[in-house]
Amino acid sequence: MADRAKAPATRWLWPLLALPGTAWMAVFFVAPMYVVFAILFGAVDPILRQPIPVWNPFSWDVSQFGFVLEHITGADGFFGPALMRTVGYVAVASVLCLLIAYPVAYYTARFAGRWRGLLLAALIAPFWISYMMRMLAWVNLLQTDGLVNRTLSVGGLFDVHPSWLSGRPSTVVLGLVYGYVPYMILPLFAGLDRIPAATLEAARDLGASRFETFRRVTWPLSRQAVVVSVLVTTLPMLGDYFTNDLLSGSPETSMVGNLINNSVLTPGQTGQAGAFVVLILLVSIVPMVIYVRAGRSGADVKS
């Protein structure tokens, strides 16, 4: 009886609470996405060759999307290498990020003691400086007679002068790792910090070594945080183009973000940028689904 009395109030309360979020999604995701589709499947004006969005899905023209798909594989597939590069760079950068971020977050959450606050502030510090500035700083450090090369050559003792900025994949990956690692540390820290100390103590009491405790308790409990932090860094990396522009600028390291940036700004090719956006979206939905499923199984464990 009590349940039935409560029902009308809650029936409206929860949807009402979801309203701002739904409106936000509609205005800032669904509507822009529709514009992307309208341009991707739209027309091009004949003089300046600017895109003309076509809003009616029944008169959509798929030729621009087809053009992009056709040029991903096969003999004429000049987009293919850039897409593969993107996957490669982002995968390597994500793994490196995780290798760096996990120990740092682990240490901060478990062993930092009274330095914890300070360490956390230090971890957030890079956010205070614009991403662009941090990348431009690397340009200075890495140029041919920059600090890095001068250090490597120990003031002229050895003749080490790699040109870091001349389209090297390693430099681009370094830029990605450096740029995105703070974004990974924070969610990892939050996840590791949430693991109750009592659980770990219980594991030790029951005879597990430090390593066993980590392997059988800490790691499984932090797995969800790992998935989240990998996602929040990997997805923006997929669309990144300025790291590449600043640290390489060579077509040999073009990523999908560069393809988008180039085609958006090229008359007559704007629709193709929409095609790449849709492709990235499709590709990133897969890990999203994995994440949601991981979240669900995590919830099951808890209950």
């Binding site: 004006d45 140029q143 600028g249 077509p251 180039n262 090719q269 629709g271």
Partner: protein
């Protein structure tokens, strides 16, 4: 001499660039749709734009546009939609003048002086390449008063009705310009545009990073394909400049070629260049080469003149070199100033254009940007002597007679332009 080139053929089947319309009424509809659809903030305008463009979707035929060239000088009609301003007006005190320009392409001091003298606030926005600029300008809602395009896009701007014809009463200082620019082929009678700078496209290098004398090669352009410079050079992120260079390397003086064999050859060599030397593709040569990021690059003459100011303190400016064919048979171009129809302060725009053509002001601007204005007072022969250009970069001076036999980049027919853009896209996607 050559008849006005008109394009009537269909775009190739499966063209990725979307349908083009031939029908005039439909074309003006499209144009209206473009302008209303992108600039109009209201949803209604967007919807009406969609109504206009839908019908055009099915009919994929060619469009005709007027292409100006030295052999086919064009006098553009005066826009009926955007009438010239009345004579004798003064800019409103405290009003804003919006300028759209390349980065580092106008002296801040000159803008500041104008602000003080005319009590007008200047807001400068910058772009990286001509395509990007055209894309943003076409949206129409950025309200730029002055735009600095290259001359090959002026035809498109006029035909899209984006420009406001000049009221020449405001611009008496054109008398300071080289006379050939008072009746240029791309805009007969300078009804829409005034020249801003002249520049050549050549090769720049640093003798402390490149041991050979690039200019002494039989074909200096070959240097961009030389594997010993792999990863140590850059080419211009401007498809026409880069692709024109490939054609010139092969002795093809028609850098606006529509010949499919030439275009195929150009594509192959461009991709070969990419694989052999992995160039950086940028327009920041004036900064990157002096700072030591690379020692060899395709370069605009103005950037070469400007480069000494960006050198590190312990490097002598004598290391800089610039090569351009001494007979002038290379890429020589000029940039323009135009008044945009979308701007809200055309009066201040006219005053500012006149201000920039003042001999003293333009000399000051030249001193900062390195880009030479075609001013009578700045005689090419004496620029080195007067200290505007260092001796080792004397080849970066644009001689007036270059324009007699230089190679000019022209507006391409739409289909060819699409081909060029697609090659460039492939080039930039990396192999």
């Amino acid at each position: 001499m050559s008849p006005q080139r008109r394009r009537t053929s269909r775009p190739p089947a499966g063209s990725p660039y979307g349908p083009l319309s031939d029908d005039l009424s439909r074309r003006s509809l499209l144009k209206a749709a473009l302008l209303a659809g992108v600039s109009g903030p209201s949803l209604a305008a967007l919807l009406s734009a969609c109504g206009g463009s839908e019908g055009a979707n099915g009919s994929a035929t060619g469009s005709s546009e007027t292409l100006a060239s030295p052999d086919n000088p064009v006098k553009w009609p005066i826009s009926s939609k955007n009438p010239p301003i009345e004579s004798g007006l003064k800019p409103k005190p405290g009003s804003t003048l919006r300028i759209y320009n390349y980065a580092d392409y106008m002296a801040p001091g000159v803008m500041k002086d104008f602000e003080e003298e005319f009590d007008v606030k200047i807001r400068l926005s910058t772009f990286n390449d001509a395509d990007e600029a055209l894309t943003k300008v076409a949206s129409g809602d950025l309200k730029f008063d002055i735009f600095l395009p290259s001359y090959e896009s002026v035809g498109r701007l006029v035909q899209a009705d984006l420009l406001r014809p000049l009221n020449q009463d405001y611009i008496p200082n054109v008398k300071n310009l080289w006379p050939e620019f008072l009746n240029p082929w791309y805009d007969q009678g300078w009804q829409y545009s005034v020249p801003y700078t002249v520049y050549s496209t050549g090769i720049g290098w640093r003798t402390d990073m490149v041991s050979e004398d690039v200019g002494a090669r039989e074909n200096p352009y070959d240097v961009f394909w030389d594997p010993q410079y792999k990863g140590k050079l850059a080419i211009l992120d401007d498809l026409r400049s880069a692709m024109g260079m490939v054609l010139l390397r092969n002795g093809i003086q028609d850098v606006n070629t529509t010949n499919s064999d030439d275009i195929a050859m150009m594509r192959d060599q461009l991709l070969e260049l990419r694989d052999k030397t992995q160039p950086r593709v940028t327009i920041a040569m004036y900064n990157d080469m002096p700072s030591g990021q690379y020692g060899l690059c395709q370069m605009w003459s103005g950037d070469a003149v400007n480069a000494p100011y960006y050198l590190e303190k312990d490097v002598s400016p004598d290391v800089l070199r610039y090569w351009f064919p001494s007979d002038g048979r290379g890429l020589v171009d000029n940039d323009l100033m135009v008044v945009m129809a979308q701007g809200e302060n055309p009066v201040a725009a006219h005053h500012y254009i006149n201000y920039l053509l003042d001999a003293k002001v333009s000399a000051k601007n030249f001193g900062w940007t390195g880009y030479q204005p075609p001013q009578k007072a700045l005689k090419p022969g004496s620029l080195v002597k007067d200290g505007y250009v260092p001796d080792n970069l004397s080849s970066a001076v644009v001689q007036q007679q270059y324009f007699d036999n230089s190679v000019r980049l022209l507006q391409l027919p739409v289909a060819t332009d699409n081909q060029y853009h697609q090659i460039w896209q492939e080039f930039k996607a990396g192999g």
